[in-house]
Symmetry: C2
Subunit: 289 residues, 2 copies
């Protein structure tokens, strides 16, 4: 299931899906038999339209409560007449899907396109209201509150010390047989006019709970509990992070994925598989956040 393959099976074509969701009332992306998930809703809608079981592969397997504005998935869809035009899929799916998830585009992709293994980098945003400030109720669903004042200059210094290719073992919840080497390409904090702090975090891929552990560690530095140097010390220590530094899911939004050109996609795909995992199956669970 979700076995990565370079090309769709005969009689199928690959489609690329761009979607957003309010993660508040989902148990995350990944399909589970007994709870409401984004993948579960999407696959159920596609399977209804195509009258057969349709599965999807996603760029970032978001956790329960995490939102998305620029999530990308792919699906292999059967060729043939199913009583509707492929071009009408966005409209048809959004009529079926619940309001807290929306398909933004649905396009025929190259057979080499792979939403997960083809991704060059993922972009996340994390929002914090610090200093016990009031979170505007209408904006509360994607902002995490923090009671102490945060010094974003300190947080930016600490964040910069983690940039580059590092072993993020200390910022990742345990997953068996998974490498924790990642290339952190952007990590900074900015205070907006309304006082909300926005963090931009970009990496080639993220380990499980990595963004939320990174943000939580910076918060401890920004409130003065630990010095700026602590961020790098934690990295070098190679110990599993405490649950207390893993910040709440609701502050986190998956905002986008970058993909290479079609000709570079196959090369990229093979490189990721070779680098990341002992086998294809071992690699399946390690990404996301």
């Amino acid at each position: 299931m979700n076995q990565p393959t370079l090309a769709p099976e005969s009689g199928f074509f690959r489609a690329r899906i761009l979607l957003g969701y309010d993660g508040t009332n989902f148990f995350g992306w990944g399909r589970q038999s007994d709870v409401r998930t984004v993948q579960g809703e999407l696959e159920a809608a596609l399977s209804t339209l195509y009258r057969q079981n349709i599965e999807t592969v996603v760029a970032g397997r978001t956790d329960a409560g995490v939102h998305a504005t620029g999530q990308v998935a792919h699906a292999d869809l059967p060729e043939g007449d199913f009583g509707f035009e492929f071009e009408s899929l966005v409209y048809r799916l959004n009529r079926i899907l619940p309001e807290d998830m929306r398909i933004k585009s649905f396009e025929r992709a190259s057979n080499n396109f792979h939403a997960r293994y083809g991704a060059l980098r993922r972009h996340y945003v994390y929002k914090i209201q610090d200093g016990n400030g009031i979170v505007e109720p209408i904006k509360r669903l994607d902002i995490a509150p923090w009671y102490r004042d945060l010094d974003i200059d300190l947080m930016n210094q600490a964040a910069a010390s983690l940039l580059g290719e590092n072993d993020f073992f200390s910022y990742a919840k345990f997953r068996p047989n998974a490498t924790t080497i990642r290339d952190l390409q952007r990590f900074d904090f900015e205070r907006m006019d309304d006082g909300v702090i926005i963090s931009h975090i970009t990496a080639d891929a993220f380990c499980y709970n990595m963004v939320r552990a990174l943000v939580g560690t910076m918060v401890y530095i920004g409130e003065g509990r630990f010095p700026v140097s602590w961020a790098k010390e934690v990295l070098d220590k190679k110990e599993r992070p405490s649950d207390s530094v893993v910040f709440p899911a609701n502050g986190l939004t998956f905002v986008g994925v970058d993909y290479p050109t079609d000709v570079e996609m196959i090369e990229r795909f093979n490189k990721v598989l070779a680098k990341r995992a002992l086998s294809i199956n071992d690699a399946v669970d390690e990404e996301g956040e």
Copy 2:
């Protein structure tokens, strides 16, 4: 009840409350015995803390589904020791109140302060996603979708034709014994970078459903169904608006109120009462949106 008085009763002081709420799950501001309202929740929390019945008066009696970021209310609170500092009220109330409403400040006001009759002007914002565009799920709670493309230049021309002191009878749902003369001070439309259209609407006060009828009428002009001149023709016709032009509540947010200085407040208060109503009781229900 909510009888406007210039000064609190003896043994009480007037407090000014700034608050915001996500109107999605409230049946509007005004207290009702059997459903969840913002006033009901606020008064219940205050009554719990003060161990007696506390009532509030609000600047804008918002309808079910309408949001607020800058709502203002007042309450007359008893002097004396109730086991907590007045300064801790924001914190104490927000611990009691549900997450979809937050007190932003709670201040001792002049005895002449009156949240409703002292207000110089109210500010609303309305958000629209036109052209059948996808509403970002995480932002969906305060954006109204519209299926056709809207030309905001036409809407701005039409909106400008309604500015000034006019009888907004044609833009107000029926309320007995209520004048419909209002001074519309700002009404314009702007398209943001993400494609969402934001309308700013300011008046001394609004008739019942007036903002939503104004916006709906401009939408019909923006989609080309009626010419720009229709806005003024509707105004001059003095016929009750059709329900179809009253746009959905969820796009509407009460963003602020302006008050005069303390010395001007008494004068303002008397002027509003003289102008608006046959009696004080008749005036109670006519405002809001």
